[in-house]
Subunit: 625 residues, 2 copies
């Protein structure tokens, strides 16, 4: 069993692929983790903005949450329609591209890609926030913990999406159950005590008010709270991954996710108000997350507290997994439209798109390092991308219904239009409210990504035009190749390469570059015996031997020079450079050989003559050939 | 001008190589920086051990330094003889290998390699120690500063050894001049004041004694102080880099280096005693290096102080350069003896061994990160390697004189024997005194490295035996190849590859893997027009077209399967898989193409059939062919 098998799992056979499809029970964890876990940082992000208002700030969390829930409901109905209209999946990118044009599609794609990277970074940092709330001693290792979890998630995803789903079922349902239980218990106690429940463990005292409520602060709190809505688009992107009937399963999954999310958001807002729970300054000693305070206030710091916090930790960290499931799919769709390198379109081990996973892991790792793994610093970059994608997707749906008029299309157009307007307003609010704190980064990155996609698309188109041909081939123009065979010494791999060369051409030059006094002596002395006599006996033309001095011990440059010179002298011929290579069974022996062969090939290509081709002749070490 | 040219300098022509040779004036900075700069951390390392003795500790620095100087003198005379006897260079490795056998040579090589890595780490960390002494505000950025300087030095070295020499001439001589001036001034003042000079700026008060002098503490202080001797072997390793007459220039350079070093060590010991200067606890707030206190005490914290500290910073940081000049040379020599991968034996850009430079930079970067850039934590790992190499080299010289008896050989044998015994005792002292603090790491790493070299050597020997042949080639056994040509669509690059394939063989199968419904339709429909008719017109055998469904959108696996199946069906034939590749002029377009070609080649090799060869046919984008 190789190292990569151990870490990444055995490669799957093609025939296993259908088994990767999923239903609502596993669909909720896989595509809903991001949306559901938003409950772990969205309300806290809003409350953090209200810290400066002191106790007065808590009164505003209810209307802010109400506004977010209304927005969420609009977006939900909008996406229900998208799933029905686009069972092929692709989400915002596909919808925007098909209905609003290529640039709108690329804009949506860029927004979503950045959003996925932030989903990973925010999810993990918020999860670690829950961990350090339960164990304050870990606070100073925040960043290390974030990076370790990122690595773990990336490896799990490289093993394949189905196992990923299995891993996440238990924590997700545990999270929903324990948070639901805490909220139910808290609401019951609050109602029984007529709105003034006594906390089991007192939450942190609210800070003295240092400012007064202003429209600006409330706007900022709303903008931060909107991060609770990110991840809603995941289901519509991944419709294809669902078991048949895909659209129906996807809608059911989306309904479950949104329903749970609304209950969680409303419950957290109600309880933070009833129990007087505010946010604590993030990234400082004494930090404790809102949910940690809430569960402790409702149920005390007993076993239930630690179970609930563990499930929050797990779900928040693993919410990043939603992005890991969707980012590579999105990259594949864009790559198929030639907006990203085509290698992002190929399937890797275990039927998932490993390159996309690696790209996502690296980018979010960089973000975590830059922002020190502090959720609150990442929040301002977030949400812009998600809401821009929402807007474009729903605007696209409006165009879709205009083009496909029919029963109910006016109603559908109204629903999507409402969604588009509501989310467009939200984009503007978030951008303005968070511009200085970090939204400007997203604001610059999105167009930069679009320009990159356009440049890649142009280059593919240019190469496509250059290579296009509609004419038959002309076989008469080609002539037999001239072979150049560089050899270090006489041996079995040399003999194999020379024998093969003799089949490719009857003009062969064997080149030996002499770097020491004695190198190549046996070749020179016994050439007649080794090669000339057998060639004459076989009735084939005799290969030439050229021994070239290299006083400064360069080996590759003289070979390249000879190849280029030959190519120049015979512009109508193909020059085949035959390179013997050693292939080792064990990967750790890779570094022992062949560096020279790879460099030689790169040099031949780089210095470029169009009539040079490279023939690699492998020798399998230990297999004797 | 490309990015790599800008960073690494234009590649040098072979004919420029002789100009890389150096004389004593540039030789002292290049090969002496390590040895000379040891004055910056050796005495301090000894004094740090004496902190716990309080003021009483300072009395012991004079005898400890005297012992180190005696040892240094013995080693100097020993290495003078080595240079004369081995003008070809190679130092400890060559001497031990030739006289004591392969294992002794590998032991010396492993010791030296580890020592070079530590030279880099200790030099840079001590340099940064000087910097933070002058600007205490930088103390908390110690590690970042270390890594930035490491990167800078590595880049300078990738540009080539002569420029490296030029860069280091000014700071080295400035260091010698300013430290020499400070010592002269200090000694003069001390003598004038009858041994009780008044410091201009008072040094840190000495700590209260918390322990009493014991043989153990003095042994540890001596062991730490011995790090001042590291780097002495550099000249003998690099004799070949000197201008003719190499041995004479190398001996002159060594004499200058050792002479200066002895003056510096003696001066520092005398002044720290006279001015009551002790070490401060390393890595803690309030840290100030011994040299910083000494210069301030002698000359005040004026302009001279900052010039002197800047030269110490520069020289200490750049002392790492000695290792960068020598480590790759050592690797090359070992690689030539097949104890390391052969790629370490090849010359890179600018005639230096870039791979060795990169390996060294990475390893010392790891060390710096593990030990947080604190010199004092690195010191215990140091010196073991250097003194083990000294011992093996001098023991080897004793054997050398025994084998080459002649005039003065008995005297020479005595000098080297004395050196071998003295350094062997020192290895044991250092190992025992520092074992727990870190010498155990070196103690385990050296044999591990030796085992690795032996394993590499065995593998090369095995492959060499497997490939060895003393028989003529048999041309009659080979038959013409069968060509498999995978194509995505009809286009100019396909036509080029097919035309070339038609010259290599008259059995060609063109394979198209159908991933969508429409893919390959034009190929199928117009095959007769595109290929069959022209082939018949040219009178060559007609290539076959095979279109293969791939329901799960795999492209490479079916191609590999076809190749393997064909190879199995025709065990006596060569299967040539012709892969068209796109070559882009601009490096940043590299990621757009050819990933598939590389992966296909890797898969063909990995799944391995010995009669499959790979033919790469490049198409130069923008050059039209």
């Amino acid at each position: 069993m190789s190292l990569s098998d151990l870490l990444l799992g055995k490669p799957l056979k093609s025939s296993d692929e259908r088994a990767e499809c999923i239903g609502p029970v596993t669909g909720v964890p896989i595509f809903g983790l991001d949306a559901l876990s938003s409950a772990g940082y969205g309300p806290e992000a809003a409350l953090t903005l209200l810290i400066s208002l002191g106790a007065a700030g808590l009164h505003f969390i209810l209307p802010i949450t109400a506004a977010i829930i209304v927005l969420l409901t609009i977006v939900y109905f909008s996406y229900r329609q998208t799933i029905a209209a686009y069972p092929g999946g692709g989400g915002s990118y596909t919808v925007a591209r098909e209905n609003l044009g290529v640039t709108a599609g690329q804009l949506a794609a860029a927004a979503l890609m950045i959003d996925y990277v932030l989903t990973v970074a925010v999810g993990i940092s918020a999860g670690v926030g829950a961990l350090v709330s339960a164990f304050p001693i870990l606070l100073r290792h925040t960043l290390e913990l974030c990076l370790a979890i990122l690595l773990l998630i990336a490896l799990i995803n490289l093993r394949g999406v189905r196992e990923a789903g299995k891993v996440f079922v238990v924590p997700t349902y545990l999270f929903v159950a324990s948070l639901g239980f805490a909220i139910s218990l808290g609401v019951a106690r609050a109602l029984l005590s007529k709105g003034h429940p006594a906390p089991v463990v007192a939450p942190h005292p609210l800070a003295q008010a240092t400012g007064i409520a202003s429209a600006w602060i409330l706007l900022q709190a709303f903008a931060s709270g909107c991060t609770a809505m990110t991840g809603v688009e995941a289901v519509s992107n991944g419709v294809r991954a669902f078991r048949e009937p895909g659209a129906k399963n996807a809608r059911l999954t989306l309904t479950i996710i949104i329903g749970i999310l609304i209950i969680l958001l409303a419950g957290i807002a109600y309880l933070s108000n009833a129990y007087h729970i505010g946010a604590t300054p993030p990234g400082q000693a004494g930090y404790e997350s809102v949910l940690s305070q809430m569960i402790a206030a409702v149920a005390g710091k007993g076993i239930f507290y630690f179970i609930a916090m563990a499930s929050i930790l797990a779900v928040l960290c693993l919410s990043a997994n939603t992005a890991f499931a969707d980012f590579p799919r999105l990259c594949q769709i864009i790559a198929n439209d030639k907006g990203l390198p085509s290698s992002l379109a190929s399937r890797g081990r275990r039927l998932v798109f490993s390159q996309g996973i690696i790209v996502l892991a690296v980018l979010s790792g960089v973000l975590l390092i830059i922002f020190g793994g502090i959720t609150d610093r990442l929040i301002p970059l977030y949400a812009v991308g998600a809401f821009l994608a929402f807007t474009l997707s729903q605007a696209g749906m409006v165009m879709h219904w205009r083009r496909h008029p029919g029963k109910g299309s006016t109603h559908s157009m109204f629903v999507n239009g409402l969604g588009a307007i509501a989310t467009l307003i939200t984009v503007c609010v978030v951008l303005i409210a968070k511009f200085v704190e970090g939204a400007w980064i997203t604001f610059l990155l999105i167009p930069a990504l679009v320009l990159m996609m356009k440049a890649i698309h142009r280059q593919y188109a240019r190469v496509g035009r250059e290579l296009a041909s509609n004419d038959p081939i002309n076989f008469t123009a080609t002539k037999p190749p001239i072979v150049i065979l560089p050899v270090a010494s006489w041996g079995k791999s040399t003999k194999k390469a020379l024998a093969i060369a003799s089949e490719l051409s009857n003009e062969i030059t064997v080149i030996h570059i002499q770097v020491g006094e004695h190198s190549g002596k046996d070749l020179e002395e016994r050439w007649n015996e080794f090669v000339v006599a057998p060639a004459q006996a076989a009735g084939i033309s005799v290969p030439e031997l050229e021994i070239r001095q290299s006083p400064y011990r360069r080996i590759l440059t003289p070979i390249v020079e000879i190849a280029l010179r030959t190519a120049k002298r015979h512009p109508d011929r193909i020059i085949a450079v035959v390179i013997p290579e050693l292939v080792e069974k064990r990967w750790y022996n890779y570094f022992l050989h062949n560096q020279r062969a790879s460099v030689l090939k790169a040099m031949l290509y780089f210095l470029g003559s169009r009539n040079i081709i490279v023939v690699n002749v492998p020798w399998y070490v230990e297999a004797g050939g």
